[in-house]
């Protein structure tokens, strides 16, 4: 029989050998993930309990390494242009004019276009000034 995907706080307390109050503390501190179905109905995903146990056994959180893909900007730009049929600047302009549907794919391209322009700007290319001029400025609230 498949195990229930969500556990009550009492279930978790029993599995971890701690009090329900201890479970709530873990949840409040963000150490154990849970959802609140109603104000008094908290459920812990069994996957989250497994993850918590894994972390406790390891004695620390995992180390995450952010590494740049270090691909030549010209290659990335060519890749973008091949995919979209236009330059990042042109794509960005049309995106701002609402010329494209608001799909996840287009949102991803909008992020790539802006990132490419930022990378080109920081590399000192002639695109820099044009890009920097498009950065949003702080507005008064």
């Amino acid at each position: 029989m498949q195990q229930s995907p969500y556990l009550t706080v009492a279930d978790v307390a029993s599995e971890l050998g701690i009090t329900p109050g201890g479970v709530y503390k873990l949840i409040e501190r963000g150490k154990l993930k849970a959802i609140r179905r109603t104000e008094r109905n908290v459920r812990v995903p069994r996957l989250a309990l497994d993850a918590y146990r894994r972390r406790v056994q390891a004695g620390h959180n995992a180390d995450w390494h952010l590494e740049d893909d270090a691909v030549d900007l010209r290659v990335l730009r060519a890749e973008f242009e091949r995919e979209t049929g236009m330059s990042p600047a042109d794509w960005e302009g049309r995106w701002k004019d609402d010329a494209f549907e608001d799909t996840p794919e287009n949102m991803g391209l909008a992020i790539r276009a802006l990132a490419l322009r930022a990378a080109e700007a920081s590399s000192g290319s002639e695109e820099a000034e044009a890009y920097l001029a498009t950065l949003p400025r702080r507005v008064a609230r």
């Binding site: 498949q2 195990q3 229930s4 995907p5 969500y6 963000g30 150490k31 154990l32 993930k33 959802i35 179905r37 459920r43 995903p45 069994r46 996957l47 989250a48 497994d50 993850a51 918590y52 972390r55 959180n61 995992a62 995450w64 952010l66 590494e67 740049d68 893909d69 270090a70 691909v71 900007l73 990335l76 995106w95 701002k96 609402d98 549907e101 608001d102 799909t103 996840p104 949102m107 991803g108 909008a110 992020i111 790539r112 802006l114 990132a115 490419l116 322009r117 930022a118 990378a119 080109e120 920081s122 950065l135 949003p136 400025r137 702080r138 507005v139 609230r141």
Partner: protein, 147 residues
């Protein structure tokens, strides 16, 4: 104004949160393009049943304070553009829960969600969900709802 620091800390925060929910990382998981962008791919295991939710986090951070005063700031940089996408079913937009940071929109909709079960052109203000912790809790609540 340290984009690399903002990217590193933000990336770590997302990875920690996804890991705490038991997600498995998948390609892509990288800092891409050197321009302040990172992408993280992750998948919810089906060990205990439920949908195999596929998550893709894309964010772009730029130097400076948040130009719209939304508080999406870190290390002197702001979240310029973001898309947090959770695909529940292979039914396109209606099978996904998505939160976007899109500064083209009017102020109430700069942070908006495309709710699960709705088409792409449905946008709901979502400022309270604009943190990895709150959004992943929302995704998990959706998972609970479709079990």
């Amino acid at each position: 104004m340290a984009v690399p620091s903002a990217l590193r800390d933000r990336f770590t925060r997302w990875c920690d949160e996804l890991d705490a929910y038991g997600y498995e990382f998948a390609a892509p998981k990288r800092a891409a393009r050197s321009g302040g962008e990172f992408v993280i791919g992750a998948r919810r295991p089906t060990t205990y049943g439920g949908p195999a939710v596929v998550i893709e986090i894309k964010e772009l951070w730029s130097p400076g304070g948040d130009p719209h005063g939304l508080g999406l700031e870190l290390h002197g940089c702001f979240l310029h553009r973001g898309s947090w996408h959770a695909q529940f079913f292979s039914t396109g937009a209606v099978g996904a829960e998505r939160l976007d940071v899109d500064r083209r929109k009017e102020s109430a909709l700069i942070i908006h969600r495309h709710p699960l079960g709705q088409p792409n052109d449905k946008r709901v203000p979502a400022a309270p969900l604009a943190s990895p912790e709150r959004w992943l809790e929302e995704v998990e609540t959706c998972v609970d709802g479709v079990y």
